[in-house]
Amino acid sequence: MGNGILTDRSDNVATVISDITKGEIISIKTELGAKEIEAREAVPYGHKVALIHIAKGGEVVKYGIVIGYATRDIEQGEWVHTHNTAEAYVASVAT
């Protein structure tokens, strides 16, 4: 059992299933075997961690779906949340 979960093979973030401390190794089970990354900062239970470098403006993908866009460069092992990710939803209705 790892401490990170991947919901789709195309995801570039994983959900951690325990409180992660800075420097801790996060182990994620993938189809290609376990992937291990080092947490660059603390990541709370249920939150997301970047599996790869995500450039500013790049897609944040979870469940195989673009859930947001990076508002600045996000490094592998960084916590991914509202401080570095913007809403992906654009309302289809005129405002």
Binding site: I5, T7, I17, Y63, I65, V80, E87, Y89, S92, V93
Partner: protein, 404 residues
């Protein structure tokens, strides 16, 4: 990105294990998993009589709500269609409608529409009968006869293609999207491939995934119906001064790790599995045939489950992270949690443990298959915790009447 299967979901897929359950045959060909006599208020102000009658007669369920009068035409029409759908639900053997007498909703028409299903229907009204006491007495007598007749109906064997299952997620947490909802999505694929129907709703929890779902529609107009429903939903909010996009992610959601509306809805819509979208149904209307369906309307449990019951669902599945307790009078509601802590602490109210997905001891497919087996058991008579503990009386019909 998730690719839909080739199987249209409309025709019966391969019968993997020839899954069967024991249900009740109704005159219109539908199959119930429970055998209740429904005491149905045609208007909210008859609720007291409905509850009195139902409390006196074993085998009955009270259908109460706040709708029926007064109301705008749109509301009254939806209330009427919903009452008809509830009366026609296959879990119901016979119906006693209880009115006040002066309500706006057309109770005679409700009776006629339910009677078309071939099941016994009676209508009583307090103002005609002479008040609450006499109406309760009359209703108890009628209901007792209906229950005795219904008790002679026996369970028979049916294929899983007869199943119509509704889903809801509520009191979600970080575990919901990565465990319980994924298990339900896998279950949805199984039931649809068996030829059954799967219904989910909650426009608030679809926001941001409407295009992905519309792309899975069997026909462009089905997808467009969903896009229109979302658009109307957002417009309704704006007409009242609310931005429903901004409201989507709560403080609690953010604390729990949900960053955007799309992330929230993505965790919710995994319940829909991977089969094509067969239909988008308006609240109050019925599902016809198998396949994946979306019910438009409220995300609130009391209203959503009623809409699913009116659509013909025999069973509800409710995924929860923190622990939602409520069921519904008309359907057994299976409580599924993927949070091991909630499973242990709220065990008396929970039915199904999906936490093995997070622990790494079970795959999503294993848990989905086990959930399918559990649904067949419940369909055959196994009681859910909400039924056993009688946490199943809270319900309502969707509508705008409260702002009239």
């Amino acid at each position: 990105m998730r690719k839909p299967k080739i199987n249209s979901g409309v025709e019966t897929g391969p019968q993997l294990d020839a899954a069967k359950f024991m249900g009740y045959r109704r005159p219109d060909g539908t199959v119930g998993v429970r055998n209740y006599v429904a005491i149905i208020s045609t208007v909210g102000c008859a609720n007291e009589i409905t509850l009195d009658i139902s409390s006196r007669v074993i085998g009955t369920i009270p259908i109460t709500h706040k709708q029926g009068c007064p109301g705008v035409a749109w509301d009254l029409d939806m209330t009427m269609r919903t009452l008809v759908g509830l009366g026609r639900n296959p879990n119901i053997a016979a119906v006693l409608l209880v009115g006040l007498g002066c309500e706006s909703v057309d109770r005679e028409r409700v009776k006629e529409q339910i009677a078309k299903s071939g099941k016994p229907v009676e209508l009583i009204s307090a103002q005609e009968t002479g008040g609450g006491i006499k109406t309760t007495a009359l209703g108890v007598e009628i209901a007792a006869q209906m229950v005795q007749a219904a008790s002679e109906i026996s369970r028979e064997e049916f294929g899983a293609s007869q199943l119509i299952v509704g889903a809801k997620c509520g009191s979600s947490d970080a575990t919901s999207g990565i465990s319980a909802n994924r298990a339900v999505g896998n279950f949805a694929d199984i039931v649809v491939n068996e030829g059954g129907a799967f219904v989910f709703g909650e426009l608030a929890d679809i926001l941001g995934n409407e295009q992905n779902l519309a792309n899975r529609a069997i026909r462009p107009e089905v997808g467009q119906a969903l896009i229109d429903a979302i658009s109307n939903y957002l417009k309704r909010g704006m007409s009242l001064g609310f931005n429903l996009v901004g409201a989507g992610v709560t403080t609690g959601n953010k604390k729990g790790g949900i960053t955007t509306v799309v992330e929230k809805s993505s965790g919710a819509v995994v319940k829909a599995g991977t089969t094509p979208l067969k239909g988008v149904i308006t609240y109050g209307d019925a599902v016809t045939g198998g396949g994946l369906h979306i019910l438009t309307g409220s995300a609130r449990g009391a209203e959503l489950l009623t809409g699913e019951a009116a659509a013909g669902c025999q069973i509800g599945i409710w995924t929860t992270g923190r622990g939602a307790l409520q069921g519904h009078p008309l359907m057994p509601v299976i409580k599924v949690t993927g949070n091991i802590d909630t499973w242990n602490r709220l065990r008396p109210n929970m039915d199904f443990n999906a936490s093995g997905i997070i622990a790494g001891t079970d795959t999503v497919e294993e848990v989905g298959k086990r959930l399918f087996e559990e649904v067949l058991k419940v369909a055959s008579g196994k009681l859910t915790r909400a039924e056993i503990l009688h946490y199943d009386r809270f319900m309502d019909i969707d509508g705008f009447a409260h702002v009239v």
